[in-house]
């Protein structure tokens, strides 16, 4: 009996120490695969003119730094723009294009454009999912009269489709960014 106990103790102690010495160096870094760091909205005027970009960039994702928001210029009154949205994950090198994923899963995504009071623009969806419901990575924007205000882009993941707007879309917010826009 004693021998059995002694042996088992030896075996267990050996186990314990082999486990201790199991050291396989430093761990490898993990880059967030799904994080969206950058959204670039490119507004191309119909019939020529200055191309406008609206960009938000948050290279540390959920880290303490706030996103850097940049609007390249003013919109021209009375001009209709073709808008495209590009989403990037720039924490990885080379940057990953998230727009492709969103467009592949078009039934599970939708962009919403919220126009703040004072800003005279109208928007229309430019692309749709397989069921004919809006996706919105492409859109058209028509600048009305001279004015200024916020233009907010919201991307919802797994929204209720169809819906009448953000109010009944549900889902969870993947992007919510407001740009201060001026129409000259």
């Amino acid at each position: 009996m004693k021998k059995v106990k002694f042996l088992s103790t030896v075996v267990l102690t050996t186990l314990l120490f082999t486990a201790c010495s199991n050291d396989d160096g430093t761990p490898e870094p993990v880059n967030e695969e799904e994080v969206i760091t950058t959204m670039t909205v490119t507004l191309t005027p119909n019939g020529g003119g200055t191309l406008i970009t609206l960009q938000t960039r948050d290279l540390d994702g959920d880290g303490p730094n706030a996103p850097v928001v940049d609007v390249s210029g003013d919109l021209a009154a009375g001009v209709t723009y073709n808008g495209t949205i590009v989403l990037l994950n720039e924490t990885v090198n080379p940057p990953e294009n998230i727009t492709e994923e969103v467009e592949e899963e078009d039934e599970d995504h939708q962009f919403f454009y919220t126009i703040g009071s004072g800003l005279d623009v109208t928007t229309a969806y430019g692309n749709f999912d397989n069921n004919g419901n809006p996706l919105g990575t492409d859109f058209t924007l028509t600048a009305g009269s001279v004015s200024s205000g916020t233009l907010t882009f919201t991307l919802r993941h797994e929204p209720t489709k169809p819906n009448t707007g953000l109010g009944d879309a549900g889902g969870e917010t993947d992007i919510a960014v407001a740009f201060n826009v001026t129409i000259q």
């Binding site: 314990l16 201790c20 996103p67 969870e172 917010t173 960014v177």
Partner: protein
């Protein structure tokens, strides 16, 4: 084994040459347990068949022996007959010890095992097997919730974390079959990985009353023990089936035990639980199902003076987390809070989708003990635990089915304990513990590590002394010292590293710099002292007064030290702090108890003062591309918790009893002079029980649970701008929900099926009135109501 030895010795005694043969062998025969003299014990020398009997003092003398080795058989009417081998050279003295008969031995073993390592100067609350069985389909937390002073911190209704006198998670230590659970217990959403059906009874100690296992139980200790196996030839078991209407699920558990008179025993047990989506009174709580599979096996050999036992258990649980609780930023939180219904309600299903948890816990233990006459009982235990926690979130693209969190925690523990009686009045328990732990975080999740990879080494030493001054007064003192070393590899976001000034404070721990991350190697040392001092005074016949002071020191857990990122189900960013030191709690508790068949009660006021108490609370709003998030940062403060727990029971007629429970706790942050978050509201439980042992042991009970609104809470509500409406709205994250009252009915009746088989049928209803309510301590209270009415049918067969 013994017989072989006897035979060999018999032969050797025959072949030996006889020489001087007028020696005597004298001595005493005593009881192994209490050392009392055994009168009339018979000693027979093998070979010569020479026989003598012990006198009134247990003494004997055997004359005419040679210088040789003899086999002597010692027997006594009340004891097991035993053979001894004795080497005689000249006149020899030798004392023999005999064991009591097995039935009696069993009693002694049971009593002796009744956890001497728990404090005797703190009132223990115990849930016995019978009560435990009523919670068979629930969880450990549900069962503990039935005790005064215990509430639970819930995530939905299936993740139930015990909260003892206002404290939870790393501050509550769970001892499962003599093993300290290491199951990522720091997480408020990580339920204990213990199958409630594997426990024979549950004991709760509201304080650091188990120094043998830990000195860091600032909140309390929960001890789950397996049923004792008698030392006799038997085969028995039980099967328990529960069907429940809410969740449309079943729970099935079965146990079979075989034991032998020679001390060997073995037991197997298994549990299967499957529930679909639960229901609130008005809607389905989508994705709240559960699928639990557990098994345990133990076998061993148990004698009074030595024993060995091996134990293994597997716990596997898949838990769905309310779909509507997975959110983006503050705007989503506002939508969820402002809606009275969850934002996502689907049809009932048994399917468990993301978000969900899938946890597997292996526990293996081997333990042996040997009793030495000279210095006491020595025990050696080795245990191994492997905890694998997988969490799945709502994800996009190729990662859709990938885990978001994959942690593997391996723990090896070696414990050596010595239990000794210095005198009849003083007993001393001492021991050492060594533990190695490795946490490995799978990097293939595509999500930054929630907690880092680390190796942790613990070394502990303790001593507990007990002094029974007289029949009335028992004094107890204990001390423990723990050393903890943590070797951590943590990736910090460069922006966070710099915002915290770690680049100036800890430049030496940087291992490597990447594009936007820094790999650091913090090596942390913690030296923790803990102790307990107490007295129990018994007076008149039924009264007892317990006094206990305990000091507990707890090293910060990995999440408090290293959190850094988004917590989805809470919709907040959580940040830890590398610079934390241990928190130290001083708890003084007093209990006045009366134990009586007619009227019994206990009143237990306590005060717990904790320095460097680690709290998490909101500090600011952080802008991200996903919108605004509230940032919650851990910080250290001085806290004080005061409270009282009351239990009372009165039998006002022969079979009718009234039970009462009342718990109140107030927690304050002394530095900021504000209440602590997540303190249980005042609550009272009252129950009328009718039980008639003459009539098939029928039992009927009606219970009322009343939870007051928590009026003391830190106000962390914050404002956020909503672009759609162009308004600023308040996100009501701290305001507690209203008072609520629940009624529960329970009944059971026993039938004797055969001579050895008892059938117990039970029927119960919880939330009898189908009341819609929200519980302040449920982390999903923002999104949905708690459980609606539930009908339960229990069938138990004992065989």
């Amino acid at each position: 084994m013994r017989n072989y030895a006897l035979l060999i010795l018999l032969f050797s005694s025959i072949t030996s040459i006889s020489q001087n043969c007028d020696n005597t062998l004298s001595g005493t025969v005593t009881d192994l347990h209490d050392g009392s003299a055994l009168i009339g014990a018979m000693l027979i020398v093998a070979g010569s068949e020479q026989a003598v009997q012990t006198d009134f003092d247990g003494k004997f003398t055997i004359p005419n022996l040679c210088n040789d080795t003899y086999s002597i058989q010692v027997s006594h009417p009340y004891c097991l007959t035993k053979g001894f081998t004795v080497k005689v050279s000249d006149n020899t003295t030798k004392s023999f010890k005999l064991e009591h008969h097995l039935e009696e031995l069993n009693e002694v073993t049971v009593e002796g095992k009744a956890y001497s390592d728990k404090s005797k100067t703190i009132l223990e609350n115990t849930i016995a097997k019978k009560e435990l069985e009523r919670f068979s389909s629930g969880s450990l937390g549900d069962a503990l919730n039935s005790l005064s002073g215990v509430s639970s911190l819930n995530t939905g209704n299936t993740v139930v974390k015990p909260l003892i006198n206002g404290l939870h998670s790393s501050r509550v230590v769970i001892i499962n079959n003599g093993v300290r659970m290491e199951d990522q217990e720091w997480g408020a959403e990580h339920a204990p990985n213990v199958d409630i059906n594997s426990a024979g009874n549950l004991t709760l100690i509201k304080g650091a009353g188990a120094l043998q296992y830990s000195g860091d139980a600032v909140g309390g200790v929960i001890v789950a023990e397996a049923s004792k196996v008698p030392v006799k030839d038997s085969l028995y078991g039980k099967t328990l089936f529960t069907g429940a209407s809410n969740g449309r699920g079943i729970s099935l558990t079965s146990q079979l035990t075989k034991s032998y008179q020679n001390g060997w025993y073995g037991s197997v047990q298994g549990t299967l639980k499957r529930f679909g989506d639960f229901k609130a009174p008005d809607y389905v709580l989508s994705n709240t199902g559960i699928f639990e599979r557990d098994a345990s096996l133990h076998f061993g050999f148990n004698r009074f003076d030595f024993g060995i036992e091996a134990y293994y258990s597997l716990f596997k649980n898949e838990i769905g987390i309310l779909r509507a609780s997975h959110l983006g930023g503050a705007q989503d939180l506002i939508r969820a809070i402002n809606s009275d219904r969850p934002l996502i309600i689907n049809d009932f299903t048994y399917k468990i989708m993301a978000p969900k948890q899938d946890v597997t816990h292996h526990l293996a233990r081997i333990k042996g003990f040997k009793r030495f006459d000279s210095f006491g009982k020595l025990s050696l235990q080795y245990d191994f635990q492997r905890n694998n926690r997988l969490e799945f979130d709502i994800r996009r693209g190729a990662d859709r089915d990938n885990t978001s969190l994959d942690l593997q925690l391996d723990t090896h523990t070696l414990m050596l304990d010595l239990d000794s009686h210095l005198t009849d009045e003083i007993s001393l328990k001492t021991g050492v513990m060594a533990r190695y732990q490795n946490n490995f975080v799978n990097p293939n999740t595509g999500v930054r590590r929630l907690i880092p990879d680390y190796d942790k080494y613990d070394l502990g030493i303790y001593a507990i002394a007990e002094y029974q001054l007289n029949d009335q007064l028992l004094l107890e003192a204990g001390g423990r010292f723990d050393y903890t070393y943590m070797d951590v590899f943590k990736f910090y976001r460069t922006s966070f590293w710099e915002s915290r000034n770690y680049d100036e404070l800890f430049p030496e721990i940087v291992v490597e710099e990447f594009d936007n991350q820094i790999l650091a190697n913090p090596q942390l040392n913690f030296y923790n002292g803990s102790g307990t001092l107490g007295a129990t005074y018994s007076f008149y016949e039924d009264y007892k007064l317990f006094f206990n002071y305990s000091i507990a020191s707890r090293a910060p857990n990995p999440s408090e030290l290293f959190s850094e990122g988004l917590h989805h189900s809470a919709s907040r960013i959580e940040l830890g702090d590398l610079r934390f030191n241990s928190e130290i709690g001083h708890k003084v508790s007093l209990t006045f108890q009366r134990s009586n068949d007619i009227f019994s009660f206990s009143v237990s006021p306590y005060i717990n003062t904790i320095s460097d108490f680690i709290v998490i609370e909101p500090t600011k709003i952080q802008q991200t591309i996903r919108g605004n998030f509230q940032v919650w940062e851990y910080r250290q403060t001085n806290a004080q918790l005061l409270g009282v727990d009351v239990d009372a029971s009165y039998a006002f007629a022969k079979n009718l009893r009234f039970n009462h429970q009342f718990s109140m706790v107030k927690g304050y942050d002394c530095t900021r002079d504000e209440p602590l978050i997540s303190m249980p509201p005042v609550n009272t439980k009252n129950e009328i029980v009718y039980q008639n042992p003459q009539f098939n042991n029928i039992r009927l009970s009606l219970q009322s649970e009343y939870y007051f609104r928590q009026n003391e809470y830190p106000d962390n509500n914050f404002e956020v701008f909503i672009p759609e409406t162009e308004t600023t709205e308040v996100v009501v994250v701290s305001t507690p929900p209203d008072t609520y009252h629940l009624l529960n009915f329970n009944s059971s009746i026993d039938f004797k099926a055969t001579k050895k088989t008892t059938l117990t049928v039970g029927f119960g209803v919880t939330n009898l009135l189908n009341t819609s309510y929200r519980n302040y301590l449920n982390r999903l209270r923002y999104y949905a109501d708690d459980l609606g009415r539930n009908f339960l049918l229990n069938i138990k067969i004992n065989y």
